[in-house]
């Protein structure tokens, strides 16, 4: 997966140019790099990018214009993959974003710090562009710590798998992260879905949504 056409919206020049340079280095095309929500809407209308990367907080109000623009864009075009970068783990924002648009397109919510994990960041962008859901591990960690009651039925390993699933990782990626076979991962997943009364779903994307919805209670 390479050669994505990306629109970047970020008000900080240093970060905006840095991300643009990094994505170009990985062979993607940055068709527009803009500094506020209105420019973002215009750029998306004009370029029809494969994926949008946007900051939550942007001029003029420096509140959550970027997030609102992302949600609007997804409402107008549910096929548009959007990766939102946030300064903090704000579940409220993550939730609003995940509930936005339709299921077909990918959506991502990552901490801005993850930009530093260059490879992971570029992979996450590709995953979102491919229509998957990516959620920052920090958000997942908080969600897991919040819903402790029903989770105690899970084994420690199943909880680990659940966390990685919620981040939007594929079975293969989970297997790599835990250094086990994919078959073992599939077994854990089936068992934990059963324990949590979640529908066993082969579709990665819907599965992530189900897990997140469950965790958000």
């Amino acid at each position: 997966m390479s050669g994505l056409r990306v629109v970047i919206a970020e008000d900080g020049v240093i970060v905006r140019e840095g991300v643009a340079g990094m994505l170009r280095r990985f062979g993607h095309e940055v068709v527009a790099a803009v500094g506020d929500a209105d420019e973002l809407r215009a750029a998306v209308r004009e370029h029809r990018p494969d994926v949008v990367v946007t900051d939550v907080r942007m001029p003029p109000g420096f509140s959550d214009e970027g997030l609102q623009a992302a949600i609007e864009l997804r409402a107008a075009d549910p096929e548009l993959p959007v990766l939102v970068l946030s300064q903090y783990v704000e579940q409220t924002y993550a939730t609003e974003l995940l509930d936005s648009g339709g299921a077909p397109a990918g959506v991502g919510y990552l901490l801005k710090d993850r930009i530093g994990e260059v490879t992971e960041f570029v992979d996450a962008l590709a995953a979102v562009a491919a229509g998957r859901t990516v959620v920052d591990p920090e958000v997942v960690r908080q969600l897991l710590s919040r819903r402790r009651d029903p989770l105690h039925r899970l084994t420690a390993r199943e909880r680990e798998v659940l966390g990685l699933m919620a981040e939007g990782r594929s079975n293969a990626a989970i297997a790599r992260a835990l250094v086990v076979s994919e078959a073992a991962v599939a077994k854990h997943i089936n068992s934990l879905l059963t324990k949590l009364d979640l529908p066993p779903d082969a579709d990665d994307h819907r599965r992530v949504r189900a897990v997140l919805a469950y965790l958000r209670g």
Binding site: D64, E90, K112, G116
Partner: protein, 415 residues
């Protein structure tokens, strides 16, 4: 026990009283009262006439206004004059105007109860008191003239009766010291009762103080937001960029080489710095509170708590920011306490608005026995809440459960 005012002076031993300055001071008080009264009558009548005559034009209104405000001048003079017959000074009941300029001063004065009390006093003084003062002073003068002046003006009487009257004047005059002082004392007591600051005026001062404290809190909040913005736009941006550059550098370096290791270490440090600054910024000002309001912000706090927290908020809309911020920090502090001291396994936070008060309750199933005096946290909380005129109640019997209940007045709710 020296006398503190004219009325107390009356209770002194006659010898002490007569040798004291009280009778003279009383006389001076009444004489100046009569003069002030006369001046007031002239001034007020003058202003009212001017007001009536000029009422065809707008300036007439100024005449009426001046009449109303004349009480302030009279009140000030009266408070000063009172020192003649009263040791205790009367404090000024007026509040200082918030801004310089005539308009601000006028607005404050016309809203104050004290202004209208002073006007009432001025009117009573002009209509009644000053006449009585004049009567008493006139009576004294008449008595002194008729008795001590007898040898001079009673030329057609016999010398015996003239000097008898003269001599009778001495005890008469001495005796007069008491009614003069008594009337001066009574007059001063009335003036004091009307012109002294009331609890109501003090309340206004208190409200003013509270308001200014609230303003301070608001200013503080604005400042926190500014700091948060600066940190976010400056240091955080640079750290993100730094972390990204280091991440890119790591990709270039051959794995396992010494340079790759030191860059990896630098990358880790940058990552930690980012985490630190993120937590710092959150502590300075919770952005989600500004953007989404109290329930959302409480949710964020709950999600970072080390124990499960159930939320139950039913709010009619966004609350005033001072209330939201206070409630937010109450929740942060309370959950910190729960996590640190209570040994609880669960906590519940509820928030409702009833009878224009926001009631926030934080419950836990811990061991109880929380002591407000033990930790500064609760005291600090109470201070924060007091500024916005709220109350804090804590129930924490040994064995639990602990309930912290905070009520904050809510003036306006925006949807």
């Amino acid at each position: 026990m020296p006398a503190r005012n004219a009325l107390e002076a009356l209770t002194l031993r006659p010898t002490v009283f007569l040798r004291s300055s009280w009778p003279w001071r009383s006389l001076a008080y009444l004489a100046s009262g009569a003069l002030l009264g006369a001046a007031t009558i002239l001034a007020v009548v003058g202003m009212l006439v001017a007001g009536v005559l000029l009422s065809i034009v707008v300036i007439g209104f100024a005449g009426y206004l001046a009449t109303v405000l004349s009480g302030i001048a009279v009140g000030r003079l009266e408070r000063r004059r009172l020192r003649l017959v009263d040791v205790d000074e009367l404090p000024d009941p007026h509040r200082p105007p918030p801004r310089a300029g005539l308009r601000a001063w006028l607005l404050v004065r016309l809203r104050e109860q004290a202004t209208w009390r002073e006007l009432g006093y001025t009117m009573m003084s002009a209509a009644l008191f000053c006449w009585m003062d004049a009567l008493v002073v006139g009576g004294v003068i008449y008595e002194v003239l008729t008795t001590f002046g007898a040898p001079v003006y009673m030329q057609d009487e016999g010398a015996g009766s003239r000097w008898a009257l003269f001599l009778a004047g001495i005890p008469l005059t001495v005796v007069l010291a008491w009614p003069v002082t008594a009337w001066a004392g009574a007059r001063a007591a009335m003036a004091r009762a009307i012109l002294a600051p009331r609890a109501h005026d003090a309340d206004e001062k208190l409200i003013e103080v509270t308001r200014s404290r609230a303003r301070l809190v608001d200013a503080f909040e604005v400042e926190r937001r500014r700091i948060e913005r600066d940190l976010h736009d400056g240091a955080q941006q640079r750290l993100v960029a730094l972390s990204m550059q280091l991440g890119l550098a790591r990709l270039e370096l051959p794995p396992g080489s010494p340079s790759a290791e030191s860059v990896a270490e630098a990358h880790d440090l940058a990552r930690q710095a980012l985490t630190d600054i993120r937590e710092l910024i959150r502590g300075v000002h919770p952005k989600v509170l500004t953007d989404r309001g109290l329930p959302a912000a409480a949710g964020e706090v709950a999600s970072t708590a080390p124990l499960p927290v159930e939320l139950d908020f039913t709010l009619p809309g966004r609350l005033p920011s001072a209330v939201e911020v206070t409630a937010y920090f109450v929740i942060v502090e309370a959950l910190t306490n729960v996590a640190k001291h209570s040994g609880a396994t669960r906590a519940w936070i509820s928030g409702t608005v009833t009878a224009s008060r926001l009631v926030v309750e934080i419950r836990d199933d811990g061991r109880g026995g929380a002591d407000p005096a033990a930790g500064t946290g609760l005291v600090g909380l109470a201070d924060r809440v007091a500024v916005v005129d709220g109350t804090v109640a804590l129930a924490s019997p040994p064995g639990g459960p602990t309930v912290l209940r905070v009520e904050l007045p809510v003036t306006e709710v925006s949807a």
